[in-house]
Structures are given as structure tokens and as C-alpha cells.
């Protein structure tokens, strides 16, 4: 089962994405986002990235999602929409589920399915022991590389976040 853990987690990942993409009320969207964040963290951790998984939980779920939950709780309506309350939402959710089930069947059951991509069985999804670089784990080296070689990326993403805040304030300011 452990060789298929990434595959299973990614299926749950996609299902929870379908869950909030079918647009129930934001409260329930946030709920499913917690599940998807946790599962995403699991995927990263099974590749050995414990630091990054912890980052997802702490910063994403524990920081950004909490703020999102509070603001949504302030702006929520009396009877928020669930997945089964509205035909459209339920239809989209079931459609997404159906497509995911079909995809999983394609991957699992057929040996070489060449539709657009070649899913050769579960080959790409099973974890193998990826590149060994001695003492340090790969993901810590990745984080270190982000702050040394990837300084430009940090500057650009930091600037984008700042401008994102300015833009949102500007757009919602009104007259």
C-alpha cells in the first residue's frame, strides 16, 4: 500500500478540489480546503519533504485559512449552501467525481492507455527512492537553494504579494 500512497492521496486531493470547485458556500469550501491542504501535506511528506508539509499546515491552514474562515464567518448568510442543497452544485460535484473515477480506472486498469498522455499503469505515481545527496535531505537543500540561487524568485513573489494587496485594496475601495 505504501507504494500507492501518493496515488491514493492525490485522488483524495483531486476529490476535495472538486468539492470546493463546485462552489458550495465559502464555509464548506474552507472545510474541504482544510482536507485538501492536509492531504497535500501528506503527499509532500511522502516524498521526504517534512519541512514543506509543516509549512503547509502552519502557514496555509493555520494562518491564511483561519483568517479566511473568520472573514467568511462575518459575511455568511443564514442558510449556507451545501453540496446537496442546490442542483447545480450537486451536479458539478458529481460530474467532477465521475471524471476522477474514470481517470483512476484508466490509470489502474489499462496497461498502456494512450489518450493524450501515456499513463503506463501506476508507474509515475509510485514513490521510489529519489536522488540521494548524502547527508542532507533534498527538500532542505531546495529551501536553501530558494534563498540563495533563487533570490530573484523570492523578490518577484514578494513583490507580487505586495502588489496583490495593493490591487485588492484598490479594487474594493469603490469611489
Amino acid at each position: 500500500m505504501m507504494t500507492y500512497i501518493v496515488f491514493i492521496l492525490s485522488v483524495i486531493f483531486v476529490v476535495s478540489f472538486v468539492g470546493f470547485s463546485s462552489k458550495p458556500s465559502p464555509i464548506y469550501g474552507g472545510l474541504v480546503l482544510i482536507v485538501s491542504g492536509g492531504v497535500g501535506c501528506g503527499i509532500i511528506m511522502s516524498f521526504g519533504g517534512s519541512f514543506l508539509g509543516l509549512m503547509v499546515f502552519l502557514i496555509y491552514l493555520g494562518g491564511m485559512l483561519v483568517v479566511f474562515g473568520y472573514t467568511t464567518a462575518m459575511a455568511t448568510e443564514q442558510y449556507p449552501e451545501v453540496w446537496v442543497s442546490n442542483t447545480t452544485v450537486m451536479g458539478v460535484f458529481l460530474l467532477g467525481l465521475l471524471m476522477e473515477v474514470m481517470l483512476v480506472l484508466y490509470v489502474l486498469k489499462s496497461e498502456e492507455v494512450g489518450v493524450v498522455f501515456k499513463f503506463s499503469g501506476v508507474g509515475d505515481w509510485a514513490i521510489y527512492d529519489t536522488g540521494d545527496s548524502g547527508v542532507f535531505s533534498e527538500e532542505i537543500m531546495g529551501v536553501a537553494a530558494l534563498y540563495s540561487y533563487g533570490a530573484w524568485v523570492v523578490i518577484v513573489t514578494g513583490w507580487s504579494l505586495l502588489v496583490g494587496v495593493l490591487v485588492i485594496l484598490e479594487v474594493t475601495r469603490g469611489d
Binding site: 524568485v153 513583490w159 507580487s160 502588489v163 496583490g164 490591487v167
Partner: protein, 346 residues
């Protein structure tokens, strides 16, 4: 808008396009596109009425979808080539998806539906930035992946764009929609020659930007957004009517003016590659474009368009400052004799 924030956001639009043009990593290019999109939304929404908000929403939705398609193409490319550098796209599927994504960003047919509606809903200056600066980033990526673009798809989109740009602009009286359809047609010309000689794409882009800049400056100067208000220019500033005439005819691609240069070069390049029907069709469809430019010049410059009597005696308020207009007009009409200098562009 607070001038400091406005400057910051405008600089971010510039920075986004710069990042797209100078990055060699596909992810940075995607980040540049997103930064560009994010920062131009408040510029499109400078006035807070429902029209601008609707236009900004439409722009955001189409461009975000195009960015998502671009990201998918990048990941397929990564899956099949194992590296992130932007050289050529190694997989035909990824190439087709990427071409469609960039066509959505540029406003090529069949993804052209947002261009007239977005351009119409925003102010003239924002429309100017939308139709000139925003075309630079996707075109630079198309230039860089041009060896691996599927010719059939690109040429189909280009020819259909020229057709739609010409045909769709025929029934318009709103100047911003006319400029939008003109932009669609010009993008069609640019992408038609992309696979054969990308330098000509850049040349066409340069001259198109100069001409569109000139036209928008003239519209902004007379604050006119409809053909009717443009036809009163003979009363306000008679000189502008001549300038509108020259620039519009240059946009239509008439010979002694510089708008002829890209069309001539493109047709020559296409015939050098033994396609004769295609440039003939393109030239014929450019006549549709010329028709509605001619209609504008007819009502503006060639006739003193009838108006009510009180419109004939206007108060002369202080003249608006016209940025850069004389050099632009000269460049958008008189550059044709410089065509032999094209050899430096290689």
C-alpha cells in the same frame, strides 16, 4: 486613485511584461503573466461604474484561463523534456495548448470575443494600454517558441482573425470597438508570418503599436469615443482632422505611408515560401479593415459633417496637453522609405 499606488501598480504592469520577456524559466514567465494581469485590473477599473467592472471581470476571466492553459502546457513540456528552460516546446500537444493559450491572451480568433467588449467598457487611456502594451508579452513568448508551433493551427487562427477583425468592425460606430477589431486583424497579420520570419512579426508589432498609440492619442485629445463626436473635430481642432486621415490610412495599409511596410514585407515573405492563395486572401480581407477606416475619415476629415447649429460655435477651452503626438504621427506615416534598413533587424 492615490498617485503613489497608481505609480506602483503601473510599474508592476511594466515589471510583469519585463519578467515575461527576459526570463528563461517557464515558471518565471507564468509568474510574469500573472503579475501583469493582477496589476492591470485596477488600471482597467479606474472609474468605478458597472461597465468598467464588467469589462475588468471579463478580461480577468479570459486571461486567467489562458494562464491556466499556459501552465498546463508548461507542465506537459516538463513531463516530456524534463527541463524548464524556454527553448522550443518538445511535445506537439504542449505546443498546441501553448499556442491556444497565447492566442487567448492576444485576442486571436476563435478567442477574440473579449477584445471589443473589454475595450469598450474601459476608458480611452486604459484601452490604449490594453491594446498596445499587453500584446508585447504574449508575442514575445510566441516569438521564442516559433520553431515548434503547429503551422496549421496558427495560420488558421491568423486568417480567421484577419477575417473577423475586418468583418466585425464593419458595423461599429464606437471608436474603441473599432480599435479593438483593428487590433484583432493586426494580430492576425502578425501571427501569420510568425513561423516564416519572426522578425517581420516584431516589425509589424512595432509599427502597429506606433499607429495605435497615435490613434488613441488623437481620440484622447478630442475626448471622442464615438464616430459622431469624432466628426466634430473640424470645428474643434481642424489640424487633427488631417492627422486622423493620415494615421487611419496608414493603419489601413496604403502605400506611401508606413502602415504599408509590414503588409508588404509579410506578403513578400509568404510568397517566398510558395504560398500564393494565402497572402492574396489576407490582402483582400484587409480591404474590409480599410473600408471602416475610410468611413471614419469620410465623416471626420473629408467632409464637414452636418451637426446642429450650436455645435458649430464651440467654446474654446484650454488645449489639452498632447503627449508625444507629433513624433508619433511622423513615425506612423512616413517610415516607408526606411524599409531597406530592415536588414539591421536580423
Amino acid at each position: 486613485m492615490n498617485p503613489l499606488i497608481f505609480t506602483t501598480i503601473l510599474m508592476t504592469v511594466l515589471l510583469g511584461t519585463m519578467i515575461v520577456m527576459m526570463s528563461s524559466h517557464w515558471l518565471m514567465i507564468w509568474i510574469g503573466f500573472e503579475m501583469n494581469l493582477l496589476a492591470i485590473i485596477p488600471i482597467l477599473m479606474k472609474k468605478y461604474n458597472p461597465r468598467t467592472m464588467e469589462a475588468s471581470t471579463k478580461y480577468f476571466l479570459t486571461q486567467a484561463t489562458a494562464s491556466m492553459l499556459l501552465m498546463m502546457a508548461i507542465i506537459i513540456n516538463l513531463m516530456h523534456s524534463g527541463q524548464w528552460t524556454i527553448t522550443k516546446v518538445f511535445n506537439p500537444t504542449a505546443s498546441i495548448i501553448m499556442t491556444s493559450a497565447l492566442a487567448m491572451k492576444l485576442g486571436l480568433t476563435p478567442f477574440h470575443f473579449w477584445v471589443p467588449e473589454v475595450t469598450q467598457g474601459i476608458s480611452l487611456t486604459s484601452g490604449l494600454i490594453l491594446l498596445t502594451w499587453q500584446k508585447l508579452a504574449p508575442m514575445s513568448i510566441l516569438y521564442q517558441i516559433s520553431p515548434s508551433i503547429n503551422l496549421n493551427i496558427l495560420l488558421t487562427m491568423a486568417v480567421l482573425s484577419i477575417l473577423v477583425g475586418g468583418w466585425g468592425g464593419l458595423n461599429q460606430t464606437q471608436l474603441r470597438k473599432i480599435m479593438a477589431y483593428s487590433s484583432i486583424a493586426h494580430m492576425g497579420w502578425m501571427t501569420a508570418v510568425l513561423v516564416y520570419n519572426p522578425t517581420l512579426t516584431m516589425l509589424n508589432m512595432l509599427i502597429y503599436i506606433m499607429m495605435t498609440l497615435t490613434m488613441f492619442m488623437l481620440f484622447i485629445h478630442s475626448s471622442s469615443t464615438t464616430t459622431l463626436s469624432l466628426s466634430h473635430t473640424w470645428n474643434k481642432t481642424p489640424l487633427t482632422t488631417t492627422l486622423i486621415l493620415i494615421t487611419l490610412l496608414s493603419m489601413g495599409g496604403l502605400p506611401p505611408l508606413s502602415g504599408f511596410m509590414p503588409k508588404w514585407m509579410i506578403i513578400q515573405e509568404l510568397t517566398k515560401n510558395s504560398s500564393i492563395i494565402l497572402p492574396t486572401l489576407m490582402a483582400i480581407m484587409a480591404l474590409l479593415n480599410l473600408y471602416f477606416y475610410m468611413r471614419l475619415t469620410y465623416s471626420t476629415s473629408l467632409t464637414m459633417f452636418p451637426s446642429t447649429n450650436n455645435m458649430k460655435m464651440k467654446w474654446q477651452f484650454e488645449t489639452k496637453r498632447i503627449t508625444l503626438l507629433p513624433p508619433l504621427i511622423v513615425m506612423s506615416s512616413l517610415l516607408l522609405p526606411l524599409t531597406p534598413m530592415l536588414s539591421i533587424l536580423d
